[in-house]
């Protein structure tokens, strides 16, 4: 009996009916090159994954990544006109918002709620924030390090505690603590990890997870040569990359550890605190406002230059890109 032929025909018919219509692929070569300055940190994972996994290409984008050490350098490259977009933390955005308003945040793509930590070499001496009076605290001036430390004092109502602030460069912090030059340091990753590796007896003064949120954002210039369509495509590619990361955390970590040449254990230690989510919400507005107020209170910025944060967030672009993306998936 020959049933194979009709069954195959029916199967093929069904298969073709279920086939999603592919689009965008192959167009990317014709597209203009778009440069993105990317900070060499796991926080930039969505950008790296979108590049490595071809999500940019899928959306018809011809993206070129320019890797930099740190968000500040990325932002500077953007301002110098060397790149079209940059990845940077919200602190950099906040400080720059006092000096210029020609840039705009397209989206926030990751957040860490445990990036900055308050560390000491002895867990006995400083096991409570009330006990830090008189301590020498190593801080990076006018940075997330200082903002985090101030927030902590405020939340624990310890603003009046007698504390000696020792301003250090980020790379000096671990060494200063180990040498006993300071009693505490308020340091961001990867310094806490480095300290834990080098001095196992060192510990966090207090669990601060959730008390400070670090976000990484995609920023561009307001008068950009890139058209709206491409900007939307970038956001959509990032959204796809984030979905990929959330669905394949192990594969993603493996890829990132290869790209950034980071130890796999360190990466998974950091990864626990990351929440990959493409958004541009009031949470970011609040965060920026809070930091602006803090910067003003600390006289780190010219008070009169304060701008409405909402002016540097392109909500319209973000929402249109997401709506279109949803429609696409439907």
């Amino acid at each position: 009996m020959n049933l194979t032929l009709p069954i195959c025909a029916v199967f093929l018919l069904l298969m073709s009916a279920c086939q999603p219509n592919s689009n965008g692929m192959g167009d990317w070569k014709k597209s203009p090159i778009i440069k993105i300055a990317v900070s060499n940190t796991p926080l930039s994972s969505p950008i790296f994954i979108a590049d490595k996994k071809g999500f940019f290409k899928q959306h018809g984008l011809n993206i070129q990544l320019v890797r930099e050490d740190g968000g500040v350098k990325c932002f500077n490259e953007l301002m110098a006109g060397n790149v079209d977009f940059a990845t940077t933390s919200e602190s950099v955005v906040m400080f720059n918002s006092f000096y210029r308003s020609d840039f705009i945040v397209l989206a926030s793509f990751v957040e860490s709620d445990n990036d900055v930590k308050l560390l000491s070499m002895s867990s006995q001496k400083f096991n409570d924030l009330a006990a830090i009076a008189g301590a020498k605290v190593g801080i990076v001036k006018s940075s997330a390090s200082e903002f985090f430390f101030d927030s902590l004092l405020m939340l624990y109502h310890q603003q009046d505690a007698q504390i000696q602030r020792v301003y250090l460069k980020p790379t000096q912090m671990v060494h200063a603590l180990q040498k006993g030059e300071v009693d505490l340091i308020s340091a961001w990753e990867p310094f806490p990890y480095q300290l834990a590796e080098e001095s196992p007896q060192a510990s966090q003064v207090i669990g601060t997870k959730g008390l400070y949120n670090l976000s990484f954002n995609l920023v561009g210039l307001k008068n950009n040569r890139i058209d709206t369509q491409n900007k939307q495509s970038i956001l959509q590619a990032l959204s796809d990359a984030i979905n990929f990361i959330n669905e394949n955390p192990e594969d993603s970590q493996l890829l990132i550890s290869e790209i950034l040449d980071i130890d796999k254990i360190q990466l998974s230690y950091l990864w626990r605190d990351y929440a990959f989510r493409l958004s541009l919400s009031n949470a970011l507005v609040s965060n920026l406002q809070l930091q602006s107020q803090w910067a003003i209170d600390r006289s780190l910025v010219p008070k009169d230059n304060r701008i409405d944060i909402r002016q540097i967030l392109d909500r319209e672009l973000f929402e249109s890109a997401m709506n279109e993306h949803t429609d696409e998936h439907k």
Partner: protein, 434 residues
Amino acid sequence: MTLATRLKLTAILCALLTIAVCQALFQAHTYQQKIYMQLNHSMQIQLSIDSLRSQLWIYEEYSDQLSLAELNNRQAHLAVELSKNMQWYPQQLQILDNLNRLNANIRALFNTQMQSHSNHILPKDQLTSSRLLKAKYSMNIEKMTEDMFRLHKVTIDQAKQAQQSLLIAISVVVLMLSILVTMWSSMTLLHFKRGMKSLNDGMQTLANGDLVSRVKYDMDDEFAEMSDNFNNMKASLQKITVKKDELKLEVARQTQKLQEQQVKLTYLAEHDELTSIYNRRAFIKQIDIAIDRDARRNEQAALLFIDLDKFKTINDTLGHQTGDEVLKEIALRLKSHLRSTDFVGRFGGDEFVIWLDYIGSEQDIISKVNKILSVIKQPIEIKGNLLTVGASIGISQFPLHGNNSSSLVTAADAAMYIAKHDLTHEYCLFQKIG
């Protein structure tokens, strides 16, 4: 494959189809339940978040231990809601994880207040602190809202996707099974029709009297068996019919043989064995018939009684066989020289009798007798010997010398006796005796 097996397989296929449909319906039902459960629960989570939000607002107003305790309750409630297993998909679990983390962040924020409330704090500081706190938890709540939106979206997307794939899977399975059942049933039907047709055709040809042809059926099923049996039956029938025909033929043959024997016997009863002419009894019977006829028509006839001369000598010298040959030759000659209405017979030994019909005048009779005498006297060649015989002939006339066979024969015999002893005459007319 036999028809019974085919039908059994059809039944099994139908049962499979039924099971597949039931399974599919059950699965669809289970799936629907799961979706409802998930959507319902995500609504519950949404409500918990809303209640947490409202409690945060209360806390903002009062900033006391009571509102803080209530806040803790709401948070615990949300944590419980988030931890409930609703058979979430990995994507949903990831979002729930985020929500849990945000909830924990809010707890961490308010834990800072738990400790500080016991201290006496300056109002100036509290203002800054509460502002920071408010901004922080607002951020968390905002993120929660975002995550909830994503959870709803993912749940609906997953439901849609799973439903679609379930539908496709069910469609494929049911369609394939249906096609299989339909094709299988059609094939069984075709087989059945073919089997029935070949048997029916076989029966029709048998009904038309064709015993030679056989039903041809190449499938291996019940019809093949029936066809074989039918063919065997036909073969037996053919054999029986052949026997009957042969019997008929044999009967006909035997009947013919009997008829032939009857004819032969009749012939033998009426004819002389040696010469094949009438014997005495048959000759007398023929004379009687002729007398009756002639008497009716007033016709005249003559009876010649012939006794061969010198026959005894031949018989004695050359043997009985030669004598028999002579008798045969004489009989042949006599027969061939008579008219169709006349007839000849042998009375035994060398005595012959001849009936001459429609003859009345003495002249004609004597002329005929002379003719017969000359025929008899002609030499006969047997085994190289030329033999001659003579004859003495006695003549009686009808109705002159008698009106029945015995009187006529007696008269002719008497006349022949005279002629035999009269050396001057070879024949003698009965009347002359007197």
